[in-house]
Point group: D5
Chain length 117, copies 10
């Protein structure tokens, strides 16, 4: 639901080696579609690049784009994974979202993508 055209990539400087890249963004916020109350999360994106790498500034702007979106934890976690994987076509990618407590329950969601799977 965020604008994927914000995402930018650059050529992987070492495409012949499978190395791991992990970006942690502690300031994600969206809105609960049921209550309208804000949700807050840390988003961790880990991947093994294919031909391209994710540029940091675009990644930040893309994640900021959820600020006014009403979306469930389960949906947004998969959506971020789908959008980022579509943008940079990694060999493997994992998106982890760690949510602050809502009603006394804190939650962590983890989804993975594998090239060709």
């Amino acid at each position: 639901m965020s604008d994927t055209s914000l995402l930018e990539t650059f050529p992987n400087p070492k495409p012949g080696r499978d190395y791991r890249i992990e970006h942690t963004f502690p300031e994600f916020t969206s809105v609960c579609p049921k209550t309208g109350q804000p949700d807050f999360a840390t988003v961790v994106v880990t991947y093994i690049a294919g031909e391209t790498c994710l540029e940091l500034k675009g990644l930040k702007l893309y994640l900021n784009g959820y600020r006014d979106e009403g979306v469930f934890y389960e949906k947004v976690t998969n959506l971020i994974l789908d959008d980022l994987a579509a943008a940079c076509k990694p060999r493997w990618m994992k998106v982890e979202t760690r949510w602050g407590a809502r009603g006394g329950i804190s939650s962590v969601l983890v989804a993975e993508y594998r090239e060709g799977a």
Copy 2:
């Protein structure tokens, strides 16, 4: 021993992908059936959804339902697993209960459920 009708589910927004959902509830309390003294635990529910996901508010109300129940650690851990698995029919689920010290001994119990097992 809690009311399973409190549990609610919603459709899994990404049923085609095996992703992990973890909910941590640090404010569980029940009663020791031997001494009548209150017990306190953190309950962690982790699962891979099938067709449906557990709704958070219902999960909280269900767990609050043990407040006046006299039940042993071993029984309540398995009971929560059985009830939650019956409610949302996950591919895999794990319930971990971490109990505050009683008589100087603190305890952790972990039970798992696997679809079709």
Copy 3:
């Protein structure tokens, strides 16, 4: 709102010296009078005894007595201080209650009593 007759005292073994006693009880629970939802707190009682000291078992039973009481943070903190001070007549006493998050806000309350004040 808990039964103060549960509180017991024993003679201060060193009444001529002002020494500090601190008891920490991490498993306090009461009920929110507005929502009916359970509240959880750590209660810390610190005091300088006069002629008598608080017995631990009675203190625990007294604090457990709030389990079904609907009471605001501000009221219960002052009530515990008043009840404990009345029971053991200390030279000085402090009650601190540290509450788990409710609606994303966690709270700490601190009230003090001074002999003759």
Copy 4:
């Protein structure tokens, strides 16, 4: 810049005693008026009540009201203090805002109000 009519109070249950109340809200967000980028902070409100206490739900809604406001750290910290002090007329109040890093610099601001000062 948030709606102060959201703030609600209730009578101080122990007006004759100076006791300390502290509420910590880890999920405050506003917008940088220069860059338009979101800012994130933990807001800690500590006070000694006069005749009334701050109700938690209204405090949360009031703080959530800054979500779309473009405001500097220095201004919003003083503004929150002014609004809360006007709403509940405390004997003493302190507002502390702890901001996540911006440009590699993280900041903490602390302002105090004293009755009659």
Copy 5:
């Protein structure tokens, strides 16, 4: 060397499922058989129950029974494992003892038992 008749068991409420039970006892003490000086340890017992589970009160009394025993780390770790396994006949059990520093060296011992092995 402690009295195994202190150990009590109760029927496993879910014998058809392999779930893990862990009890941590931070206040174990015995005596060094060479120097006569007291030793202090945290004892962690983890097991998968067979037909019966270990009752907590008896476990505590059994472990307290080593208070005056002169026994080496290596021997007491295996002895606790043998006694507990004999008492509750688990499918699997692990005993870990973590000892405070003696002569500047702190030690951890871990022994496992497997049904039928």
Copy 6:
């Protein structure tokens, strides 16, 4: 109740300067006089020496001497302070005992002695 003749002192190498000495002993144990159950504490002794300093080995043996003594927290804290102050005649001394949880309540006691007071 421990043997004070175990305590040894040596001349303060810098009696003309008020400097602070602090010894932390994490392995103190005694017995609850009511239940007969063992109690465990960390004992911290802090002092400004007069003419003599406490020798470490004797301090350890003295503290070990409470292993079989049935004594309340309040009494043993003051007793240790009295015994140590009598042995080395400090200008100032503080004894702090930090007790493991009993019945879910953990306790800290602090007593001070001042020369000539």
Copy 7:
């Protein structure tokens, strides 16, 4: 030795109240004038503003300006304090520099400025 013209200020939004502002910059680096090796520090600037506040971007650029400067801990700490105080004319200011270990010794320096002192 850094360019003070990089520093910018803006009007204090609440000049009538003495409130505290603290900025922490964990990525300061300069060069040891004796060995030519790089030094690394966290710089913490705390102040009570007078008529103006320090703008964050300029503060960052100013601190980055020491990257190639050979300067001792003692000198640079006082220099930063002098430059920042001259730029924003605070009522009070403190600069703390926390240096990574050099030759196994880590250091912290703290200097304060007071208006009119």
Copy 8:
């Protein structure tokens, strides 16, 4: 982009055994090629030596050589691995770089080299 002639090696004192060597360098800095702003990282080099080991002083000087280099995270991580592996011909080597937050996003990169792969 740093001078690999700074790297020195010495004979592996135990070439017949595969043992692990890990060096952690918390004070790495380079420059962002896009913004010109400094970047800061902790670099962890782990390897199993072949015939030679990396000498510490040369490793430090080599890593310091990136201080003025404009280079992306992805490139510098692989470059360090390539240079170090070429210098000491290990059986296996891993380079991990942990970067301080830039634009609110902190990053970790991990690349591995295997002899003959």
Copy 9:
């Protein structure tokens, strides 16, 4: 380079079971053979005993024997492993040395021995 005759062993009290023994010695020091400066490390010895176990006092004296030895990290780690394995003939043994920072780089070395390998 330390005196292996200081090492003493005693019969394994449970030779029929493969259990793990771990001893941590945080106060190891030797001398850098290049600079003559002291090095400091924590040494962790983990093993599965064969017929004999390592006695703690002898282990301490043996490790203290490196105090005046000039020896590289890589050599001393393997030497300790060789000496201890020769002394007690374990089924498996691991020696880990964790060194304080030298020139800003802290190091960890891990070597393993396996019976018959």
Copy 10:
């Protein structure tokens, strides 16, 4: 007992301001004069300089000079303070030594010097 001629000073770059300098040296070792066993400590030197500051390299060499000295905690703490104060003539100085456990007791000593006192 260490060679004070190793200590070097340099002119205080800001003698007109009372600012605080703190150096932490975690790798101090000496020898127990009674048992001959090594002792280990972290030494923290804090001071307000007069005309001169302590040079770091000399401080390190001076502290390393205690490696073979048999000296009690109480004596060495005061000796270091006396030697450093004599070398740099500070307005105020504090030496804190934090010793690893000996016989299960860990110790902290703190001595202060004040100009003209």
